[in-house]
Amino acid sequence: MQSNNGFYGQFGGSYIPEILFASQQQILRAFEEAKQDPSFLAELNQQWQEFSGRPTPLTFCANLTEYFGGARIYLKREDLNHSGAHKMNNVIGQGLLVKRMGKKRVIAETGAGQHGIATALVAARLGLECTIYMGAKDIERQYPNVFWMKQLGAEVVPVTTGAQTLRDALDEALRDWSSSHEESHYLIGTSCGCAPFPEMVAFFQSVIGNEVREQSVAQFGKFPDRLYACVGGGSNACGLFLPFVNDKEVAMVGVEAGGKGLALGEHSIRLSHNLGAPGIAQGFATMFLQDDHGQLQETHSIAAGLDYVGVSPIIAHLAETKRIEMTYAMDQDVVNACTLLLKKEGIIPALESSHALAGAFKDAAKLGKDQHIVINLSGRGDKDIFNVAKAVEDDTFPAFLQSYLASYPIREQGE
């Protein structure tokens, strides 16, 4: 979906400190050239196939379809990408762009850690230096990802300001970029930020929806009736939805994080129920969770990757123009959806993707048996093992952790 000078309706734009102007213009030019360059697109496709394992399958869920007794349920398996999430699509694209611009270092921010892992993987493959900013609280929640980032050679910087989550990591990454823009590229992981990032990330992620177009026709002879995706920053939703945006017969549903409740600070709902308000921050205009004085607010989600105060300007625009329906799923519904998929289909979903599952499961039984729905399974759930174990109150897991820790050779400090 092309922007109007970086804008999608009233959202988007480029509101950055002057220090970043030249760098932003460089990215704008590089992206405009690259997306029309057949050699760049060929290399992108090759990396997607050989490194990430595309195309990812469209999996029919016979057991869930029978269980709900309504629509036929399909999953787009972005969890099967190398790194276990859709993040890889964008990171490969921007990584190749970094090489094209002649820069040698990438900076990234990460919430759940999936974008951090994907960035560290691609940086290693393309020979780039890599610094990842991550909220200290997210580091606690997602340490296995941090471990792998470090093993891949990335520097992981804990961010201890503010709520110590994704938004604070994003601010810190922007500050680093301000200091190092001549040699560094800020590899934004979602379709947010100043132009052209929303359009560029959506362009790289659109491989998801483009594949679904072909696969759905091949597997059930038409486009899906309804699409479901979770919406944090909005990159997997942009990727699934945008290739269908002009196909009016295809309904699209974005599912935000309802968290623990609808009080400010307990959720990450920007678009449903008028809980967000238009604002301009972090380089772009969108719907932000903010107070009456324009201060951005703290957010919560059981899924660190959805715990973000803003949202893609593309998704905000599609929601405002009613092209997509927005809903939300509460933490507990998300855990229930996750365990249902585990037990019925033998697939381990990420907690982020489980929001999309929860949204779809609410509708599935009410839809006709001739309806086909596609849920974007944006990532796999290995990283969430600790949080899911806690949420399902598994009694044996703490005992395992204690016994594992007892056998772990902990060195004294300074040794």
Partner: protein, 261 residues
């Protein structure tokens, strides 16, 4: 010439360079920050740049970020802030107060209303570092209608053509960022080689007669002396905040005197 630029020219008849001191409104409390501004004005600083805190100050370094976050522990109100600054501006006509913030709190307050209220309270300049001039048509018009100077920033990374454009559009003074990066001592290593400050300022001077204010990273007398004859205003932000944090108002005043006397 705007009243802010005229003020600068008049002051420069008696001084070699003017001092602009930065204060975070509401840090550590509203009353304390107002008391600190009063002290600075009593000591005769030429300008105070008052930062209205925002939760996500992306052009600032650790000292100012921490102060803004602490200040936001109280509920701060733009309108009340303007009223309080107005009282100071009235009591100290020999100095000038400019308001700095990020776009979102001001956008929420209303940019037209901001210009109107600033004019009512004798706040003569506004600095919004994340508002690019290209996206500022309505804001600029509102400022012009009320006789307020919107202050624009240039940096060593600003391309030459854009530098000329911004210098030509400058009103009040042009805020020249001295180096790449965020304010103060950044935790990010500044690996970018700095454009030579002298030639950078000389280049800007070719395009404008508007006074130049230089900020970001100023900490010692040598840096201030190096600006004499090349810029009109030296902007002291994080260094002043650090001194204040270490030794209170007296330490801050001592630093100013050591740099500007």
């Amino acid at each position: 010439m705007s009243s802010l630029a005229q003020f600068t020219q008049q002051k420069l008849q008696h001084k070699s360079i003017l001092a602009m001191t930065h204060v975070v409104y509401g840090y550590p409390t509203v009353d304390e920050s107002l008391a600190w501004m009063t002290r600075l004005l009593e000591e005769g600083v030429d300008f105070i740049e008052v930062q209205f805190p925002f939760s996500d100050p992306v052009a600032d370094g650790p000292s100012i970020v921490a102060a803004c976050h602490q200040a936001l522990g109280q509920e701060l109100n733009v309108d009340t802030c303007l009223t309080q600054l107005g009282a100071l501006a009235k009591n100290f006509p020999e100095s000038r107060i400019v308001l700095m913030s990020y776009l979102n709190p001001m956008y929420r307050f209303g940019l037209k209303k901001l210009a109107k209220r600033a004019a009512e309270e004798n706040i003569c300049g506004l600095i919004l570092p994340d508002l690019p001039i290209e996206a500022a048509q309505e804001y600029r018009q509102a400022c012009h209608d009320k006789g307020i100077d919107p202050i624009w920033l240039v940096t060593p990374a600003t391309p030459k053509e854009r530098l000329a454009m911004l210098a030509k559009q400058a009103e009040g003074f042009l805020y020249c960022v001295a180096r790449s990066g965020v304010t103060g001592q950044s935790c990010h290593q500044n690996k970018t080689p700095n454009t030579e400050l002298d030639s950078y300022l000389a280049e800007i001077k070719q395009h404008t007669n508007t006074p130049l204010g230089v900020g970001f990273g100023l900490r010692n007398k040598g840096q201030i002396d190096a600006l004499l004859g090349k810029a009109e205003i030296a902007i002291l932000g994080s260094a002043l905040l650090d001194a204040y944090n270490q030794g209170g108002q007296d330490a801050g005043i001592k630093l100013i005197k050591s740099l500007f006397d």
